[in-house]
Symmetry: C2
Subunit: 348 residues, 2 copies
């Protein structure tokens, strides 16, 4: 492996509580009685140069004694890139499904020796955000949602990212695409409700901001599945609180709906409780289906029917990122990864 | 503000799909017809040097045309530190409460012009992790949990972190401490159950790994609150699935418990369902209390009693971080931030 040795400027000492300055590799070299180059070889684990065990040990001990830590930045300036996989941090609180997915992905990339960094870009979007991400010189970028455009991809690549992968409804020029089409969730729910006899079908649309990215495609999926049939679709805006659910339940009979897709299991539980309290029989008068297949839905009576959503496994995604990093000139991959299947229980 | 100008070495060009190299500030300077120093002044928004508007515009246009992005690493090498607040990413899927807290904190720090970076350190713990974090040269580090020791704090400070803040059960030398004592949750639950007549009190301890950090102090809190009374405490290991809950419910009457603190609302919902299915009356035979005050608990019948947990607001915490960064020589602050209060509903 060729190794490029570059002089890293000594950074000015920031104020530190003890008044002492930040130790540098020069300090380590002095204490260990070796050259700065040797310090760099040892601490960066370079295999190109043979260094004796005792010398290695001396350098490690000196670094430990001084509390010296190599600067990732300097290291990435030398190497041209880092082992950092950057993901924008979610801007809204995440649900259990996504939280689980993130944990898995992080573990899987960690086992491949990458470090996952979630970058909080509150208030900055799309290609503007891409510029901020690029400043950290990640080797790969994973972008959920649909904010990034081809310009953002280009900025990231020009600043050294070997792979840009989007997870969302569409493709972006220059990036690998893991297609997560939430319309499939709506289609599955609608087909199930229709098959069970539903003809006047309600679709809950959460009023909480940030959820449109999921709720819109789910609604479109319902409309799409029912196009050309004798069924009607009624949008039901709903806030996630008991009062809002009670109000909706209060006018339920005037709506004349015989089935409802409640966005997800949490909204379904909220709505089912309100319907029950108003004496609306589920599924007798109205069938109810959620999505996400949460364990809690099984605890309800009637047990909640739901759409089980299959996300890519953390390991699959980590392997795709690794392949893309190793082979940055490969043409963008494009893969459907969201699976949606109905789990029919007692509420439909 | 004094400004230190340091030559940043040109990084070797990584392989990029187009075969072109990463644009540097020298390329921007050439295209704009200005010096590299001017490019740096303009793109880093330095106020120490007066630069005409047309020149500024020329630099910005050239940077845009070339797709040049400053290297955060290089910038932090110059400045001695970054505006990055680093948090270790949670290693287990997070619940709704913590997810909400993270979102708020991120937004609040963003408004103070910090960038929150969640760093995934799968498999690396304590002071070893601190070394990895230090490589990114964050200006502040926020550490939930209890893994970090005084050595880790020292490593972070020596590498330029102006503030280290722990969020957890104890204090660590050299770090600010936001004390989040989950024993308070257990104490509140136990005092409530005892006041309602509970004398043989069960405490659910989740079997899922990673939750001990919460479940242990909650259990200790229960024991502590009941010390010296006539009540007994029984530990109830429980996995988060229906079969495990059914098994526990099946031997419920042989346990002879008249009250149970079910760790949190989700385990409480699981257990209440299983007890109901087995004909155990709640609260008649056994009172049940959860924790977290989730909305779903209100939807159950009987409505679930719970311990409401007050976390520090994202804004308060962001302001504490900012104060600490501005004043790195101030003595470590120490503050109790977790509040626990019982919300009594119908299950106790």
């Amino acid at each position: 492996m060729p190794y490029v040795m570059v002089q890293i400027p000594r950074s000015p000492a920031p104020a530190s509580p003890s008044g002492s300055s930040v130790p540098t590799s020069a300090d380590v070299a002095r204490l260990a009685g070796v050259s700065r180059a040797t310090v760099s070889y040892v601490l960066n684990n370079t295999s190109a140069v043979r260094i004796s065990e005792p010398t290695r040990r001396r350098v490690h001990e000196a670094a430990k004694e001084l509390g010296y830590v190599p600067h990732a930045a300097a290291r990435s300036l030398r190497a041209g890139h880092s082992r950092m996989v950057l993901m924008p941090a979610p801007t809204i609180p995440v649900g259990p499904l996504y939280s689980q997915f993130l944990s898995e992905l992080q573990g899987a990339l960690g086992r491949l020796d990458y470090t996952v960094v979630q970058y909080g870009t509150a208030g900055v979007h799309g290609d503007e955000a891409a510029r901020a991400w690029a400043e950290l010189r990640p080797v790969a970028v994973l972008v959920p949602g649909s904010g990034l455009g081809p310009q953002g991809v280009a900025v990231l690549k020009r600043s050294g990212a070997r792979a840009v992968v989007t997870l969302g409804p569409g493709t972006v020029d220059g990036a690998h695409a893991l297609l997560m089409d939430h319309a499939a969730v709506g289609r599955a729910a609608a087909a199930h409700l229709y098959a069970r006899g539903g003809r006047r079908i309600g679709v809950v649309v959460p009023e909480e901001p940030g959820l449109e990215v999921f709720s819109r495609p789910r609604l479109h999926g319902v409309r799409h599945a029912l196009r050309g049939t004798d069924a009607t679709v009624t949008e039901l805006p709903l806030a996630y609180d008991e009062e809002a659910a009670a109000r909706l339940a209060g006018r339920w009979r005037s709506l004349g709906l015989d089935a409802v897709f409640a966005y997800n299991d949490e909204y379904a539980m909220l709505l089912m409780r309100a319907l029950k309290d108003d004496g609306v029989r589920v599924p007798g008068e109205t069938a109810v289906i959620g999505a996400d297949d949460l364990m809690l839905g099984r605890l309800l009576r009637p047990r909640l029917s739901t759409v089980h959503i299959e996300l890519p496994s953390g390991r699959d995604l980590a392997e795709l990122v690794d392949r893309a990093v190793r082979n940055p000139t490969a043409p963008p991959e494009r893969r459907e990864v969201l699976g949606a299947s109905v789990v029919a229980r007692d509420s439909t």
